[in-house]
């Protein structure tokens, strides 16, 4: 089975860095599930099956965390004792906020005009901003950049995630 004491990076035998090798992560995930998944222990006794479920759930949780740009950053920072999204630590850059407000505005105009293509452009644009935020964050976290700056970047990334989710809902609506 697996050692529950290990952190997510150790579990997949990956270096504890923000920029992860997605292929290596996928491969390690599949290899682990191949051995711990309940389907591999369906013929075992109750205890074996319960352990398999716990281990498989743990592997799923680790994979989800490391596969998500925001969760991965939070996890990495938590290993260092920081939570960028905690409590008072919530300031966002004014220009950044204005850009998102403008985006939401354009999105709802596109939605009102039932213009799915325009809405999709706004979503793509937001995703692109998230991708460059992720790249900046990688540079900050993996080269020991200022912690405060990294935390700010995580908050922006989390915010962009939320915008994309909201706009996705809106797009489904427009296309319906």
């Amino acid at each position: 089975m697996i050692d529950f004491g290990r952190n997510h990076f150790e579990l997949f035998d990956l270096p504890a860095r923000y920029v992860v090798d997605a292929d290596a992560l996928d491969r390690a995930y599949r290899a682990l599930q191949q051995s711990v998944h309940p389907d591999r222990h369906a013929a075992g006794d109750d205890t074996a099956r319960r352990l398999a479920m716990q281990a498989s759930a743990r592997v799923n949780e680790a994979y989800r965390t490391l596969g998500d740009p925001v969760e991965r950053a939070r996890y990495l920072l938590a290993l260092q004792g920081t939570d960028p999204l905690a409590g008072s630590n919530t300031a966002l850059d004014v220009d950044f906020l204005e850009r998102q407000l403008d985006r939401r505005e354009r999105a709802s105009e596109a939605a009102a005009a039932r213009d799915a293509a325009a809405l999709e452009r706004v979503i793509d644009e937001t995703r692109a901003e998230a991708a460059s935020a992720e790249a900046r964050l990688g540079a900050l976290l993996d080269t020991g950049g200022p912690l405060a700056q990294a935390c700010g970047q995580v908050r922006e990334l989390a915010f962009l995630d939320k915008v994309v989710r909201d706009l996705d809902h809106l797009l489904v609506e427009v296309e319906a």
């Binding site: 599930q33 389907d39 013929a43 909201d166 809106l170 489904v172």
Partner: protein
């Protein structure tokens, strides 16, 4: 469950004891049982006459209970004792069956799941399903020469916890050792993947008699990973039949028919629908108990028209699934069609158009789910050879959460989470000295608990009195590989514990889940529209106020004409704020800004002059 001996991998194959393992597709219209031969090939077990399907029909007769082809002829003469499409009632209460027009049955009201009054007594959908499963079990046992050791039963991917529980209960009732509930599209993907050795990202589009599923899967070196799933567990071929049925009533001016006549016309409707796959027109001929003779012809074009909205209804879940998987329609290697209703030309056309490629139909769409389930059963039973180490990673279709303060649902496990999954969240007490906490488990995508499905309620008692906010109550959700949920709660400082395996209250149907999901999307759109309207109004008011105070101070800088133009623009902006139209508000603000541009420049000059004057005064002082 019967425990099995583990076959040691190192044992010689000859010494290995093969388990009798079957996969069962318990369908709305047709059910099948399949198994894997010694040479590793899966096949559907036919009846003595060589027929692979068992129509999912149960007739409760005078002495005997008939299932399948034997029950089919009883549908129209005895509709109230001949149960069809029982799958649509699994895990649902009477209140959920809003589409009562489809059920000529006598329902018995009561708590929990709906029940049917039949000649053989009151039957729950679980019992009726168990009768079908029993017939399949007996067929398999005759073929395999002994009791079944391991069964995998398939369920629509979009089935909720209540429907899954009900299915598992039915299998147990039928005496089947169920090793796993398997999602139907995933089973189909297994059959395709193992048969064709395909790799890459695929969509499985499964439209059966009563349910619709769409799953997006990634196949990599023997791992079938479901990326997202969506669907509508009350949409299928039955609904197309019903459209034809309504068309007949109208075209032939039939007064509201008796249950017998309704069943007869529904059968004729289905025959016509199936005939239109491959023909341009279908005759509909019937004589009703009233003596009325029906003699109509339904054209393919007409059929397309009356069912267009049903075809469109399949595409919304497809879009959602793709979006959840983060993919575009053209990013897929292939689209697999499953389910008898995907034979309809309308569906094939819509799918080909949406994904920009012709769908795959190499395997028999009726059998592919059962074949995949048989492969999975064979694997779980320990029968497979070394090297055949493929694995399924599936997801839950709907988010699971808890009621929190203010009637809001807090999502603990989001939809499309890979199972098994364990997720915990901490809550606290909100009153001083609070010794109990109610835990209300809900399923659905909406924000408000009232809009989600209630799955279970339990109470954590015996929390020692503490100040509000001091207790730390950890609620843990665990979803197993069947997609079934259990929840436990534990007070962390004292270790007081409570838990339930969610046996749902069967309070909510699929229509409602689909509606809930739809509403949550609508709702998100409403929310955002409302927010941007509010934002633009605030901005408009700010600009109007600024303009008015500027006019009060520096109005003398304007000619009468200029003043009039600005006053008009102010009035227009005020008027726009009174309407529910974000774009109009923004336009009005823009024209006000334009109207005041020159005025603003002059005020700037005067301001600079005043400031300079002021500085002079200051510097003199």
């Amino acid at each position: 469950m019967t425990l099995m001996q583990i076959a040691e991998p190192d044992e010689a194959p000859a010494a290995r004891l093969r388990r009798r393992a079957v996969g069962i597709d318990l369908g709305t219209t047709n059910s099948l049982v399949a198994t894997v031969r010694d040479d590793g090939i899966a096949y559907v077990i036919p009846d003595d006459e060589g027929r692979p399907l068992v129509p999912s029909i149960v007739h409760y007769g005078e002495g005997a209970t008939l299932v399948g082809y034997d029950a089919a002829p009883r549908q129209s003469p005895d509709p109230q004792n001949t149960i069809v499409s029982v799958k649509r009632m699994m895990g649902r209460g009477l209140a959920d069956l809003t589409d009562d027009r489809r059920f000529p049955y006598r329902f018995v009201d009561g708590p929990g799941m709906v029940r049917l009054a039949t000649r053989a007594g009151t039957k729950s959908p679980v019992e009726v399903s168990a009768d079908i499963l029993r017939a399949l079990r007996e067929r398999a046992e005759r073929r395999l020469g002994g009791p079944i050791d391991a069964a995998v039963v398939t369920v629509p991917a979009y089935f909720d916890d209540a429907q899954r529980q009900a299915t598992k209960d039915a299998a147990k009732l039928a005496g089947l050792p169920v090793l796993r509930l398997l999602n139907e599209p995933t089973a189909a993907a297994v059959a395709y993947g193992l048969d064709h050795g395909i790799e890459g990202t695929y969509a499985v589009f499964d439209l059966g008699g009563g349910t619709f599923d769409i799953s997006i899967l990634k196949l990599t070196r023997g791992v079938f990973e479901v990326l997202a799933t969506n669907g509508d567990s009350a949409l299928g071929g039955d609904d197309f039949d019903h459209r034809v049925f309504c068309w007949i009533l109208e075209a032939a001016r039939v007064p509201p028919p008796s249950p017998e006549d309704a069943r007869l016309l529904l059968l004729r409707s289905r025959e016509a629908k199936e005939m239109l796959t491959g023909h341009d027109a279908a005759p509909i001929v019937a004589t009703l108990s009233t003596g009325q003779r029906i003699d109509l012809s339904l054209t393919a074009a007409n059929f397309s028209t009356i069912t267009r909205t049903l075809v469109e209804k399949t595409l919304a879940p497809v879009r959602r699934a793709l979006r959840d998987a983060g993919l575009r329609p053209d990013a897929l290697q292939g689209v697999v069609l499953v389910g008898g209703a995907t034979r309809m030309r309308e569906i094939r056309r819509a799918v080909a158009e949406f994904f920009g490629q012709p769908p795959l139909t190499n395997l028999n769409p009726d059998e592919v789910v059962a074949l995949g389930a048989a492969n999975q059963a064979n694997a779980l039973a320990g029968n497979r050879e070394r090297g055949e180490d493929w694995l399924l990673l599936d997801v839950i279709p709907l988010s699971l959460g808890l009621e929190t303060m203010g009637g809001l649902a807090e999502k603990i496990v989001p939809r499309n989470s890979t199972i098994p999954v364990t997720r915990a969240q901490e809550f606290t007490t909100w009153r001083d000295g609070q010794t109990a906490m109610a835990v209300h488990v809900v399923q659905g995508e909406r924000e408000r608990v009232a809009d989600c499905r209630s799955l279970a309620r339990f109470e954590l008692r015996g929390i020692p009195p503490m100040a509000a906010g001091a207790a730390r109550i950890r609620v843990t959700f665990q979803v197993d590989a069947d997609g079934l949920l259990s929840v436990s709660a534990r007070e962390q400082t004292t270790g007081v514990e409570a838990s339930v395996t969610v046996k749902p209250s069967y309070g909510l149907g699929d229509d409602e889940i689909a509606r809930m999901l739809q509403e949550s999307f609508d709702h998100a759109a409403d929310d955002m529209a409302a927010r941007s309207l509010a934002e633009s109004r605030v901005e408009a008011e700010a600009v109007v106020n600024a303009t008015e105070s500027a006019l009060a101070v520096d109005g003398d800088l304007l000619s009468a004409d200029e003043r009039g133009a600005i006053d008009d623009a102010v009035a227009a902006a005020r008027h726009a704020c009174g309407r529910e139209d974000t774009a109009a508000v923004r336009l009005a603000v823009e024209s006000l800004n334009r109207a005041t541009a020159a005025f603003a420049a002059r005020r700037m000059d005067r301001g600079v002059a005043r400031a300079l004057a002021g500085r002079t005064v200051d510097s003199l002082a």
